[in-house]
């Protein structure tokens, strides 16, 4: 096992833990992208360039866009509810 492989494995182990540990969804999305990068590196050093290419397009283009849009929708919705509530009170 080469140093590169060990380093990539360590990065993946830490990254996976960080995704689970992050509490704030926005920060978690960011951590997930970084985790995707770590996985991509791991796939490269495991001699799997096809998989690495897939992982990088999914973890940089595919998922974050959808997660961020979903979060935006949720926040927007939350703000609206709060607005409604303050209107009720006034």
């Amino acid at each position: 096992m080469t140093i590169l492989q060990i380093a990539a494995l360590a990065a993946v182990a830490v990254g996976g833990g960080a995704v689970v540990a992050a509490r704030d969804p926005l920060r978690q999305t960011l951590v997930l992208s970084i985790y995707g990068m770590a996985l991509t590196m791991l796939f490269f050093v495991f001699q799997a360039p096809d998989v690495a290419l897939s992982e990088i397009v999914v973890s940089t283009v595919g998922l974050p866009v959808m997660i961020l849009l979903a979060l935006r929708k949720v926040h927007q919705h939350q703000r609206q509810r709060e607005r409604d509530r303050t209107q009720d009170e006034s």
Partner: protein, 114 residues
């Protein structure tokens, strides 16, 4: 040392499960699910790797050179696609659930109870 990839995989599987169990937000549960899934990538690619092997692409290397197992890579490719699709669908469900329940906390997402 040669057990390291598989130890990492077991760790990812359990960490992801912990993330789902302890999650107070659906989004966090969904992202933790992708961590569980990434455990399967690590196991599969770890299994197929052979020492000193090249990527199974014979464009620039002679056909007789030693290469890693291509089959597991195809399995992982399928796995990555599944990850993207299942996550997309779960996110859509989460958006819709937030509309109906006004919350993403699994504590509050209970319509049917016994």
């Amino acid at each position: 040392m040669s057990f390291l990839p598989f130890a990492v995989a077991a760790w990812l599987f359990l960490a992801g499960l912990y993330g789902i169990v302890s999650s107070r937000s659906l989004i966090r549960a969904i992202l933790s699910l992708t961590v569980v899934q990434s455990a399967t990538y690590v196991v599969l690619l770890g299994v197929g790797y052979s020492k000193g092997g090249q990527a199974p692409i014979f464009a620039d290397i002679p056909q007789t050179s030693k290469a890693v197992d291509p089959v597991v890579q195809v399995l992982v490719l399928t796995d990555v696609v599944i990850e993207a699709t299942v996550t997309a669908m779960l996110l859509a469900l989460a958006v819709q659930a937030h509309k109906r329940f006004g919350s993403l906390d699994p504590q509050d997402l209970r319509a049917l109870q016994d």
